[in-house]
């Protein structure tokens, strides 16, 4: 590389680093505000580093709202959705990828139409359906409509179709039934796609605000995003360090998970685009 090119490269790196910093800074601002004493949040110019790290906002949030209950509900809902989805998605993907039966393609298309139809389209009839099933204001009402995933079926079916038929035939020759084939051949070989789907689904449902907002009202079944959002709509006026402390409690788990599974997320983009 000659000198001007190297200078251009350095300038480019600086610009890119500045862009990344600008994007990441707001996340830092959540954390900093959450640890500032209240008067410091009204100060001009704002302090970029708290004069004193104050644990009171977090403590107040934890004491005034049933945060533990919110966490519990969110964990139960997401765990319920994930376990049901993995079961139904793997079974359906196997049927569509491996088995031959009349009407298979038609049924597959029937499973594909909902693929990009978000929960925001049919929430009115779904609300009425859940109401007549007496599932409003229940955790089951937050889980059951998501017991399967069109996107998951599509992705995992692609992965299963990539598995050579000889593996399946070999397992069958040793007397393995469908469930054994799924357990010993399909799941181990399709694992990257299954895990990737699971990660995306986890992130989506952990963050979901819309469905619980529509389908629940009672505090005992409130999930974390809804609970955190209520900190902003307090009647006594907005207390920013508490709002950000609550926000921190919502963001932190997902960022930790992100750090742990980042390779799967990045790989997910490659897998889904191939």
């Amino acid at each position: 590389m000659n000198a001007p090119a190297r200078a251009r490269g350095a300038a480019g790196s600086v610009i890119l680093a500045a862009a990344a910093l600008a994007v990441a800074f707001p996340l830092y601002w959540i954390a900093v505000t959450a640890f500032k004493p209240s008067p410091e949040t009204f100060q001009f110019p704002p302090s970029l580093w708290p004069h004193r790290w104050d644990l009171d906002p977090l403590r107040t949030v934890w004491q005034t709202a049933p945060m533990l209950l919110y966490y519990r509900n969110s964990i139960l809902v997401v765990a319920g959705i994930l376990s049901l989805q993995l079961a139904t998605v793997i079974l359906a993907a196997y049927a569509f990828a491996v088995l031959e039966f009349p009407g298979r393609d038609l049924l597959f298309y029937a499973c594909l139409v909902p693929i990009m139809m978000p929960e925001q389209v049919l929430f009115i009839p779904d609300f009425i359906i859940l109401r007549s099933l007496h599932l409003l204001d229940t955790l089951a009402g937050l889980v059951l409509p998501f017991a399967t995933s069109a996107f998951g079926i599509f992705l995992v079916r692609q992965a299963f179709r990539g598995i050579p038929g000889e593996f399946i035939d070999a397992a069958r020759a040793e007397g393995a039934g469908d469930l054994a084939v799924i357990r010993h051949v399909m799941i181990p070989l399709g694992r990257p796609m299954i895990v990737t789907f699971g990660v995306f689904s986890f992130v989506f449902h952990w963050n979901d605000y819309f469905w619980p907002l529509i389908m629940t009202n009672a505090v005992p079944v409130r999930t974390l995003p809804l609970g955190v959002a209520t900190f902003y709509t307090q009647e006594s006026g907005v207390v920013w360090n508490q709002v950000m402390a609550a926000n921190l409690l919502l963001v932190l788990p997902i960022l930790v998970v992100f750090a742990l599974v980042q390779p799967y997320i990045v790989r997910g983009f490659h897998l889904t685009l191939q």
Partner: protein, 280 residues
């Protein structure tokens, strides 16, 4: 397979049919009275000034956030193509906003854009620039929502481009360099054409995501500040259905949304299938 089909049958296909039926009825959700009104709900929605404003807002929001995040995402992806630890670190930072919830994004930006104590206006004032009433001015509020949407989405676009870029064999560039193609020619003659499918995929998914936007409106502006300035499609359905209890009109608006998204989904699926054929 049967359980999956059952879920779709109830919460999608039955719901869709039920929604069509509701869209042809007059009902307030609570009373037992429900009667058939034909297409009156569609007529009411399509002639309502609020719906016109909503549709226009949704188009502006979708066009603005899609164009800005796709362009910025492409620039970042091209800049961070090389596989170095530095690039990977910056990629992680840029992608982080994408995985946090819209609730977090809404609360955070309410605070950043706060007219009295917010960081953004403080920075502007410090630089000698006039402060901006980000969410309180009718002409600006929608663009503030675009701004934070771009902030959240740009990492997703970047990572998708990076996946597309990785599929371009380096031999193509080597051959072009031998033929004397400069950086500009390589970008416009090789990179962008070969990224075509990725760009198309991103375009469709971004448009779909934009049409789904709801949380930021409900938490940050409730459609305001005035004159329905930030009403977006889903928020319109929500208000009509769950605040005015005009279930028929809300259902009619849902069907319109469904049709828009259905067309987009068909486009997207065509694309996915073609890509799959390439790979296998």
């Amino acid at each position: 397979m049967a359980p999956a089909l059952l879920v779709f049958a109830v919460f999608f296909y039955f719901a869709l049919g039920f929604n069509i039926y509701l869209s042809l009825s007059s009902w307030n959700l609570l009373s037992p009275e429900r009667h058939f009104v034909g297409l009156a709900n569609y007529r009411a929605v399509l002639t309502s000034p609020r719906f016109h404003r909503t549709l226009w807002n949704t188009i502006l929001y979708t066009a603005g956030s899609t164009a800005a995040s796709m362009a910025t995402g492409l620039a970042l992806a091209l800049g961070l193509r090389r596989v170095t630890r530095f690039a990977r670190l910056l990629q992680g930072a840029l992608f982080a906003p994408y995985i946090i919830s819209w609730v977090s994004v809404a609360l955070l930006w309410l605070w950043l854009l706060d007219p009295q104590y917010g960081l953004v206006d403080a920075a502007l004032t410090r630089l000698g620039l006039p402060a901006v009433n980000w969410l309180g001015a009718e002409s600006i509020a929608l663009w503030s929502l675009v701004l934070l949407t771009v902030w959240k989405a740009v990492g997703y676009d970047m990572v998708t481009y990076l996946a597309g870029l990785q599929a371009i064999p380096s031999t193509v560039y080597e051959a072009a360099a031998l033929d004397g193609a400069g950086a500009g020619a390589q970008l416009f003659r090789i990179t962008l054409p070969l990224l075509g499918p990725t760009i198309f995929f991103l375009l469709v998914t971004s448009v779909i995501f934009s049409f789904e936007a709801f949380d930021i409106v409900n938490i940050m502006t409730q459609g305001g500040p005035i004159h329905d300035a930030t009403y977006l499609f889903v928020y319109f359905i929500y208000v009509v259905g769950f605040q005015y209890f005009q279930i028929g009109q809300a259902a009619a608006a849902s069907i319109l949304l469904f049709l828009i998204l259905f067309v987009l989904t068909v486009l997207e699926f065509r694309f996915l299938q073609r890509r799959v054929h390439y790979a296998s």
